[in-house]
């Protein structure tokens, strides 16, 4: 039934495309659709954000009136080696997320999407489990597994390969990658779900056409799969970047930013300034800086990946 309509609508569709897209231009409908969101958003996001921006120009311990200090907080941030270190660490975490975690999830989803795979359901539920466990338990478990002297990982490595104990959480450099690993463990299964949903939306006909063309697996992947899932893939890349840039749970619970400050993330820096050092103005300023960086990079990613454009 659909096919007859398609034939009828082919020409008008193309005409409409030329004129910048379909549907009601001045109608009230789109505004009504986004209204519920915007009402809530204006109340619960915009108002606090404005207040936070204002707060970043003050010094405030939480009690009494904030004292206006102009751009002092920002100048101090520029000189704060702790903040610089946090930026670098968060940079590492985002690289791990975008370059390792996302492709890995896609790979796993490809595996799960294989035709005729048994127990697919079981795999999916199991892969989702890391997201389900409370962060406290994750921190507890991984601090045990990664313990230098009594941890499971070192015990296994030693038994299998004779490797001496690695200080996963105590060495400033290695600890960063330990955090990255926990991040990976936590999110791969979850992202796989997204990719799987996207992969299963790709019309079978496209694959059949490619097979008829004689395309191998890799070419099919590049020319059929990737383009078809571009919107969702783009979404995954951008949101993974954004949430890795704001990573808090893992460094806070596993190492408290340690050893020293070698795993401190920017989000943890903000939390620490606000809730451990009572420096709300400073924290707000750091938040504004983080926001600016993340926003600019994600906008760039949006442009590159074509988000907000039609397929």
């Amino acid at each position: 039934m659909m096919s007859t309509h398609t034939e009828l609508t082919v020409v008008p569709t193309e005409l409409r495309r030329k004129h910048g897209g379909r549907s009601l231009r001045g109608g009230a409908a789109p505004y009504l659709f986004i209204a519920p969101f915007y009402v809530l958003y204006a109340l619960f996001m915009i108002v606090p954000v404005l207040a936070a921006i204002a707060l970043s120009t003050t010094e405030w311990v939480g009690i009494g009136m904030p004292a206006f200090v102009g751009l002092d907080n920002y100048l101090d941030l520029a000189r704060d080696t702790s903040f610089g270190g946090a930026l670098a660490n968060s940079g590492i975490y985002t690289l791990i997320a975008v370059i390792i975690v996302v492709p890995l999830s896609l790979l796993v989803a490809q595996g799960l999407a294989a035709k005729g795979l048994k127990f697919r359901d079981g795999f999916r539920v199991a892969y989702f489990v890391p997201m389900v466990i409370s962060p406290i338990v994750i921190a507890l478990i991984f601090s045990l597994i990664l313990d230098r002297d009594y941890g499971l990982l070192n015990a296994s490595l030693h038994a299998l390969f004779g490797i001496p104990n690695v200080d996963w959480l105590g060495d400033p450099t290695i600890a960063k990658f330990a955090i990255g690993f926990v991040l990976l463990w936590r999110t791969v299964g979850y992202l796989t779900i997204f990719f799987l949903a996207a992969l299963q939306n790709v019309p079978k006909e496209l694959y059949e056409a490619a097979a008829l063309d004689g395309a191998g697996r890799w070419r099919t992947f590049l020319t059929v799969t990737l383009p078809s899932i571009r919107p969702v893939a783009a979404f995954v890349v951008v949101t993974s970047f954004i949430s890795a840039a704001q990573l808090f749970d893992e460094p806070y619970l596993l190492t408290k930013g340690g050893p020293g400050e070698s795993t401190l993330s920017v989000a943890m820096f903000i939390f620490r300034a606000a809730f451990e050092r009572q420096q709300f103005g400073y924290a707000a300023a750091a938040g504004v800086v983080l926001f600016a960086i993340v926003f600019l990079v994600s906008q760039a990613l949006n442009r590159i990946l074509g988000i907000g454009r039609d397929q």
Binding site: S23, R25, G27, A29, F44, L55, G62, A126, G308
Partner: protein, 281 residues
Amino acid sequence: MTTTIATPAARVRRGLLYATLVALLVVFIAPLVWAISGSFKSRGDIFETPPRLIPDPITAENYANLLGSQPFFAWFGMSVGTALIATVISVFVCALAGYGFAKFRFRGRRVLFTIMFSSLSIPFAVILVPLFILVVKSGLQTPWFSLIVPWVAPAFGIFMMQQFIVQSIPDDIIEAARIDGTTEFGTFWRIVLPLLRPSLGALAVWSFLQTYNSFLWPLVLISDQDQYTLPLGLNILFASENRSYDLVLAGAVLASIPTILVFILLRKQLLEGLTAGAVKG
């Protein structure tokens, strides 16, 4: 796809695939298994090395102690209840707005989208205090309302819905409905929404998790211990000087159940292939 599974090469490939998937499965669920196993061990046995899978002696004392000494069911109810409410609201709001952004061209669309999108980049710790003051000063501090406030209009959800709609709802369907004379909302409700089931499922799960696992916001909002959420409750046990590992493990295992349930219930939505509904040609 017309690859046959009969050839030896394909069989080996398939075997490798299973092996990898199973290995991943072990890695992903091993910690939960350890937690479950540990929750049935007495305090002194929890950290034995090498860890035993089946506790010996096996004991339910941690669960008994937990349920007996803490208002665990109250915490549980509060967490699950608020998460469900937030999920329902946010899925609805996000689907609506995502559709609006995805399938319409209107004045200010780019600006409004950018404003919405920019909120993703805002670290929560920064808006926490102003938002808290706002909620308290407007007298809306009752937990059932205030707990869900940060999670009912998540930009993440709208972004997700928008992208999924762009990918999986061809314009032709909407055209067809319009030509048929359906109202915009009718199109949305009767035609688009059913096709979005997988993404709605994914969004619902994400939304549930956000509210369920949130810690900082409930912490500043709630003073009455009987109205705590699970993360707050578990943290009391964990953050005290003697780290009640035994109670925490039992609590964490129990706390994992709702999210696993939600996921299991919704995975059919996540799984549903759209080949049936997609426009052919």
